[in-house]
């Protein structure tokens, strides 16, 4: 008896995973190289984020909680770069703190690289508080007595001696907290930071959907969602950063994935129909 070979639907269903990987890789290379720049419709959370920073006055103090490692570099780096650039435009001063060990060095190096662009000087305009293992008690400590909680910055200078923090005794004196993170750290800031200090949020896209409840309740005032949100922010700032460079590839990788979900379902449906017809 002659057996029939696998149908096109069967072959589609048993496609080698490496072909799929290659397709995704090629798709991203192609759309990264595409010279077209599409304009985004700026989403309300990003616009609110931008507006909140626009309200800052020169000299206002902002706490940046940078808690990401290289594993989410492509999502959080564009956000942090865009935010620091905006803060420098507004002449706002900022301090960084990390509850993730790697982020201590990554964010310190990133800020050291960017700040000369705005004429910022370490200690006078910005500082890094280094790594802490427990963010909750750090926040509670900083609310009560910031210099005694942080003690020294990454350069070993007592924070009470930093010109930037002259007269600063509590986190209450900060105008804003910006959490750049791939982890669930923003609830800690919401829960333990002073109520009068505004909280802005830069999560990876994975975390963003869950944060809409905080946006709705006003517990966070604005949000930049991953690299895509960073592209919208760069558009508002009128700069070309990593978000802008990534966004074409993000758009078309979504198209590819949707297409393949559709194809996978179509192949399954057609294969079943064929099997039913063949009894």
């Amino acid at each position: 008896m002659q057996t029939r070979g696998p149908s096109i639907w069967e072959r589609m269903l048993s496609i080698d995973r490496r072909i799929l990987y290659l397709l995704l890789f090629a798709n991203i290379v192609l759309f990264l190289l595409l010279p077209i720049r599409m304009r985004a419709a700026v989403s309300p959370p990003v616009q609110k984020f931008y507006d909140e920073i626009e309200k800052l006055q020169p000299g206002d103090l902002v706490m940046i909680s940078s808690n990401w490692s290289a594993s989410t570099l492509a999502e959080n780096q564009p956000q942090l770069e865009a935010v620091i650039r905006h803060l420098m435009r507004k002449k706002a001063k900022f301090t960084l703190i990390s509850v993730e060990a790697q982020s201590r060095d990554i964010s310190y190096r990133l800020a050291s690289r960017l700040t000369p662009e705005g004429g910022y000087e370490y200690g006078r305009d910005w500082a890094h508080f280094g790594f802490v293992t427990n963010l909750i008690v750090s926040i509670k400590g900083m609310v009560n007595n910031l210099p005694d909680t942080i003690k020294k910055d990454v350069r070993g200078t007592p924070v009470s001696e930093l010109p930037l923090l002259k007269g600063i005794t509590s986190l209450r004196q900060y105008k804003m907290i910006i959490d750049v993170t791939p982890s669930a750290t923003v609830p800690f800031w919401i829960s333990y930071a002073p109520k009068e200090t505004k909280i802005l949020y830069c999560p990876t896209s994975v975390m963003a959907a869950e944060a809409y409840t905080f946006l709705d309740s006003g517990q966070i005032k604005g949000m930049i969602t991953g690299a895509k949100g960073a592209q919208e922010y760069e558009q508002l700032l009128g700069i070309v950063g990593l978000g802008t460079r990534f966004v074409n590839a993000i758009s078309f990788s979504h198209v590819l994935i949707i297409l393949f979900i559709f194809l996978g379902n179509l192949a399954l449906f057609m294969n079943r129909r064929q099997m039913r017809q063949e009894g």
Binding site: L13, I15, R17, L20, Y21, L24, M38, R39, A40, A41, S43, P44, S69, A70, S71, L73, A74, Q102, D105, I106, V132, T133, N134, V137, S138, K140, G141, N144, N145, D148, T149, K152, V154, R155, G156, R172, A209, E210, A211, Y212, T213, L215, D216, T225, K228, Q231, V247, S251, F252, S253, H254, V255, L256, I257, I258, F260, I261, G264, N265, L268
Partner: protein
């Protein structure tokens, strides 16, 4: 009372070393004594420690505050946070210790593929040396030599960061493959999930705005009006569950933990 005078003199340093050594001997010497207690006694000590630490933070929050936003426990937060930072650091170090211990055994006992364990241990020692030296040099405690600077740059920026980023980017390939092979629309639920995902995926990127100027608005409405209440319902569940669990843990009703 809690501070010695002139700690930076040779005598002060000697006294401090003696105290630290004494503290180590004393605390470690307590272990056999504690071990001599019956199981109920041991558990009672754990329960008391858990209750007191919880009570401190709970009371600090619940007690009324004065005009300076403080109560009589507020100033104790600072040393408490200092203690928690150190203990948490030691807890994090426990993971590293376990990892090194396991791979050291692999190498010593020449277990299967012990060569990889050796690679891990060498990487660990080299990176630990450079990481500690670099962090100390930033604080001006050791000299920042070109070897240290270049070595740390190579190990951190061009090796660890690259490996970390590459390792986590692999998930994109798997998610793509899984979406093709396993995302089957066989029920209303799957259909709703898929529809929402597609609208969000296309609506929030610039391509969505290029296809239709209304698409970003629809995606935003889904996220703010339909997704937000769902997330809030989950939050309420997590909050009530978390509160119940916190009380159980605090009172040591949750066996197996304390």
């Amino acid at each position: 009372m809690w501070q010695i005078q002139n700690p930076n003199t040779p005598t002060g340093q000697l006294i401090l070393w003696m105290i630290v050594l004494g503290a180590f001997i004393m605390i470690m010497g307590l272990v056999p004594l504690l071990h001599a207690l019956p199981p109920r006694g041991r558990r009672a000590i754990i329960v008391i420690i858990t209750f007191i630490t919880g009570l401190f933070f709970a009371t600090e929050f619940f007690l009324p505050i004065n005009k300076e936003q403080k109560n009589f426990l507020t100033d104790a937060i600072q040393p408490a946070q200092q203690a928690v930072q150190v203990i948490t650091a030691l807890a994090l170090g426990l993971g590293t210790y376990g990892l090194v211990r396991l791979h050291l055994r692999n190498v010593v006992q020449r277990r299967t593929q012990w060569g990889y364990s050796l690679v891990l241990l060498i990487s660990f020692v080299v990176m630990a040396t450079f990481s500690i030296a670099n962090t100390l040099s930033e604080q001006g405690l050791v000299e920042k030599t070109p070897l240290l600077e270049q070595g740390f740059k190579l190990l951190f920026d061009y090796t660890l960061v690259q490996l970390d980023a590459a390792m986590f980017s692999l998930i994109a390939f798997y998610i793509f493959s899984a979406a093709y092979r396993a995302f089957r629309i066989r029920s209303v639920e799957a259909g709703i999930l898929m529809f929402t995902a597609i609208v969000v995926m296309i609506g929030v990127v610039p391509l969505g705005a290029t296809i239709s100027p209304y698409l970003p608005g629809v995606a935003n409405w889904i996220l703010t009006s339909l997704n937000a209440p769902v997330q809030r319902a989950i939050e309420f569940g997590v909050g009530i569950g978390g509160l119940a669990m916190a009380i159980r843990l605090w009172l040591s009703l949750e066996r197996g933990v304390t």
